[in-house]
Symmetry: C2
Subunit: 235 residues, 2 copies
DNA sequence: CCGACATTTCGCCCGGCGTCTAAGAGTCGT
DNA sequence: ACGACTCTTAGACGCCGGGCGAAATGTCGG
């Protein structure tokens, strides 16, 4: 009596992620924005033809979606399940050794504040969750009454986030900080509002976001406490 | 100004999982038990030489541990982080088409009850969590007072589980049922007790566990409600 | 000390996949 | 309608990595 593996077949999906070029593309897309094929080619450092082939495979494997706009084709992650896989893998993987000064600068930016598919991560994300907890706005994976009022005042549609099929307000382990930030439908909704309000804006490097002066003031008023990000400017 | 990916490098880990042979090995090890190199070779359907090469790579990549006992070398997953990656990937991956009758039988066994690295999964795991919730023993990712008493009576060292560095009692999305079962330190502790008591015993196929008559009686007494597993025997 | 068994190492073959250049298909602006 | 631009397809090349058998290493039992 021989046992033959017959579980869910994880190899095909892993294969799609395993190639360094595709991994770079997926990681870039983890920023949550849709990127054109050409941008992805440049980011991952291959020719347009090679990038196209990779994107076709990712598309076939259901890891990315595509939307055509004129002569551009914008690719994005197929859903937050894909983002979860990438985040879990990132958490397990050693930090890539920094090779250049520019890379070091970009790495610092990402550690400071970035989007994790559709919610805020990095030091900014971790300290936001910390302050929600300290203020008694969040406990046991849910908002408290004061938290619900606070976020509603900020402009977050909390009931709508509760209706979403994904988990409402899970803690998501941050791979740079190794502490939790806020994920799920609520994390996404808050991040959307923060970007709409211009409290954070997207940086030039994929995934990176930076706190604006407006955001600094607004958050200080909303959530008294330490700065949401370190004072030392990224040089 | 060119952007070059510099995030955590997820490709190497993905590469280790991407090979079908290694994926089969890792999936088998998800059962939580350490398996000898020879067993893993048989399970994944390759020669001992090939298996050895794969295991060396998995070892180098930190995905598995090894412990030598006599002329056997027992391999096991390096930690629950690895198990998490595999579970998340399994959740994303399509079910492998069933090819033979025996495979279908084994698949049914796994859907019924299996270990997910170190805690109970499948219909049994999902319905266990359901009943804990229904009985008011578990809410908001934590045990209630009655739940703590109940499990202590069963023989679970709850305070010890709370002290563990991993999360205490997270809900873990089941890839066959697509509903949550209990994971984390508490899930592991409960499962250990269930196996020690002989309420469940490990099946012949990796990962599979079956409810014993003792277990049926014990659980019915402990958690009144529907059967923990379906009545229809697996034929 | 020797034979049986588990595992690893070595040498070799081979297929698949990632890469590029060049050409084709589709889209926009003028 | 034409050229410029974006992206995909086609074809060819190179190489990494998985597969096996045979031999070496290590371990247990007598």
């Amino acid at each position: 009596m021989e046992y033959i593996a017959h579980d869910a077949d994880i190899a095909p999906v892993a294969t799609l992620i395993a190639d360094p070029t595709r991994a770079a593309m997926l990681t870039a897309l983890l920023g949550g924005r849709a990127l054109a094929a050409g941008e992805l080619a440049r980011i991952s450092g291959v020719s347009a033809a090679t990038a196209s082939a990779h994107l076709a495979r990712l598309l076939g494997g259901g890891l990315v979606d595509v939307v055509s706009q004129g002569r551009h084709r914008y690719y994005r992650l197929a859903g937050h399940e894909v983002a979860e896989v990438l985040e879990v893998l990132a958490r397990m993987s050693a930090r890539r050794p920094v090779r250049s000064l520019r890379q070091s600068r970009q790495a610092k930016l990402l550690e400071e504040a970035r989007t994790c598919y559709d919610h805020l991560a990095g030091r900014a994300g971790v300290s936001l969750l910390d302050r929600l907890k300290e203020g008694g706005h969040y406990a046991a994976h849910d908002l408290t009454e004061t938290g619900e009022r606070l976020l509603t005042r900020l402009g977050v549609d909390v009931p709508d986030a509760r209706r979403a099929r994904r988990r409402f307000a899970p803690e998501c382990l941050d791979w740079t900080e190794r502490r939790s930030h806020l994920g799920g439908a609520l994390g996404a909704a808050i991040t959307t509002v923060l970007l709409e309000r211009g409290w954070y804006r997207r940086g030039t490097t994929p995934r990176a976001v930076v706190l604006t002066d407006e955001g600094r003031r607004g958050l200080a008023e909303l959530l008294p406490g330490k700065e949401l990000t370190s004072h030392t400017p990224v040089t």
